[in-house]
């Protein structure tokens, strides 16, 4: 237990001390993962809803694919993005490998299947309950999507949090495409991996504690936003 108490003490010191390097790492982690999960939301929410609302050939296959991709290992996504963005790859001329932008791309790719699969699951029920009524009112399926997403916004928030959770927690993808460069692409998770490899286990654990606190703050804020939307 000594390790854990020491880690908790170190975490408290780090938070109180507001170390400048740590603050930059925290901000980068939040910035990258929030941007990535918002991207995943923008692509995945309409797509997942459409899969619940429309009936077309290949729909079943898309749903199966989205669900299968939930198990996508971050390392594989990282590797694929790396090969695309590498100077020898098709998108190499943009020069964005080993930048925060590359990290956002990788995490957005990881988050999108989560959004699609979860949103689809939740919207199927909403569509079953309200779809008929909306169509009777004369709304086309396309027009019906907006009210359907609005009714199911709690589900959208939950899916967003799941995508964010995946992004903020993963290390495999951003380590490959970001390179864990100090002061530039080092995030909470890559710093934890680094401190572990340096044998500073209690410091690594302390960073983990801070990461959990951050996650709780983001979840809390998102739920507050959700509640505010509901009350109005």
């Amino acid at each position: 237990m000594g390790d854990f108490t020491e880690a908790a003490r170190t975490a408290a010191h780090l938070i109180v001390g507001l170390d400048a390097e740590l603050r930059a790492i925290v901000l980068l982690s939040l910035g990258v993962s929030l941007t990535a999960s918002v991207c995943a939301f923008v692509v995945g929410a309409p797509l997942g809803t459409a899969l619940a609302v429309y009936r077309f050939r290949g729909r079943g296959a898309l749903i199966v694919i989205a669900n299968a991709l939930l198990g996508l290992p971050p390392v594989v996504v990282g590797l694929a993005v790396y090969l695309l963005l590498s100077r020898s790859g098709p998108l190499g001329s943009f020069g964005i490998l080993f930048t925060p932008t590359a990290m956002v791309i990788a995490q957005a790719l990881l988050g999108t299947p989560i959004m699609v699969a979860l949103v689809h699951r939740m919207m199927v029920d909403v569509w079953a309950d309200y779809g008929g009524a909306l169509q009777v009112d004369g709304a086309s399926r396309l027009r019906a999507m907006v009210p359907i997403m609005s009714i199911g916004r709690d589900g959208l928030l939950t899916a967003f949090l799941a995508a964010f959770g995946r992004a903020i927690a993963e290390v495999g993808a951003i380590l490959i495409v970001g390179g864990n460069i100090r002061g530039y692409t080092r995030t909470m998770t890559t710093a934890i991996a680094l401190e572990t490899s340096k044998g500073d286990l209690s410091f690594a654990l302390a960073l983990g504690i801070i990461l959990i606190i951050l996650s709780m703050l983001v979840s809390g804020l998102t739920l507050l936003v959700g509640r505010a939307l509901t009350i109005r």
């Binding site: 910035g31 990258v32 929030l34 941007t35 918002v38 991207c39 923008v42 590498s86 100077r87 020898s88 790859g89 190499g92 020069g95 964005i96 490998l97 080993f98 930048t99 925060p100 932008t101 956002v104 907006v146 009210p147 997403m149 609005s150 009714i151 916004r153 390179g179 864990n180 460069i181 100090r182 530039y184 692409t185 680094l194 572990t196 490899s197 340096k198 044998g199 500073d200 286990l201 939307l229």
Partner: protein, 281 residues
Amino acid sequence: MFRRSMKMPAIGGLIAAALLLCVQTAAQGQDKSIVVASTTSTQDSGLFGYLLPIVKQRLGITVKVLAQGTGQALDTARRGDADVVFVHAKSAEMKFLAEGQGVKRYPVMYNDFVLIGPKGDPAGVKGNEIVPALKTLKAKAMPFISRGDRSGTNIAELALWKVAGIDIDHDKGRWYKAIGQGMGAALNMASASNAYVLSDRGTWLAFKNRGDLAILVEGDKRLFNQYGVMLVNPAKHPDVKQDLGQQFIDWLISPEGQRAIADYRINGQQLFYPNADDPNA
């Protein structure tokens, strides 16, 4: 209900702004900066943490370090994703040069490898000769952790087995574990399972989770560990930042850079010994 949907454009704007910010920070980070593909030992030992602020101050260059194994670092450079490589496996470096991937190799500094193992030394290998030690480890089938990742340390370890007359690929048993991870991970594993492991001295000195481990074999000249630096060939990879990369290399091998390397210490102990003036290194 419809009014709420008006929030969508606002959210879209937010995302666009966030993305723009990201791209912008990326672009800002690019002026006067180079990417150096290096090894875990230079980072985990704290050498870069000490040197890079000096480089920034003296040359105005931000050096972005990728801490990979030697094999992976050279591969990163082969794809054109690094400007400079700073690694420690001369045979692999010469191959890299022969392929035309690098411009010129400069020796920079050396330290040495050490054989780490449980303080009690159950195999009884303590001493200053690595070859008999390895033979004993094999004969007694003592737990041994190998990096197994084509890093400089891994390449050196495999060469040492060969010198000891052991065909490790063929002779390894369950006692020999190739873990495919960095030096720190290998040391963590050895510490948790009281195994033997070959490490560079720098990483060992900076390592904090030693448990019951200690240095058992050191001082053999076969354990010499040379570091070299090369500019990635701009003729092959046009995006290489030739001028900045060469400035960094020139500083490393200059008297000032060499002194800075010699000055880096942990608990008063010197970790790396500059030897840019040794043409055979």
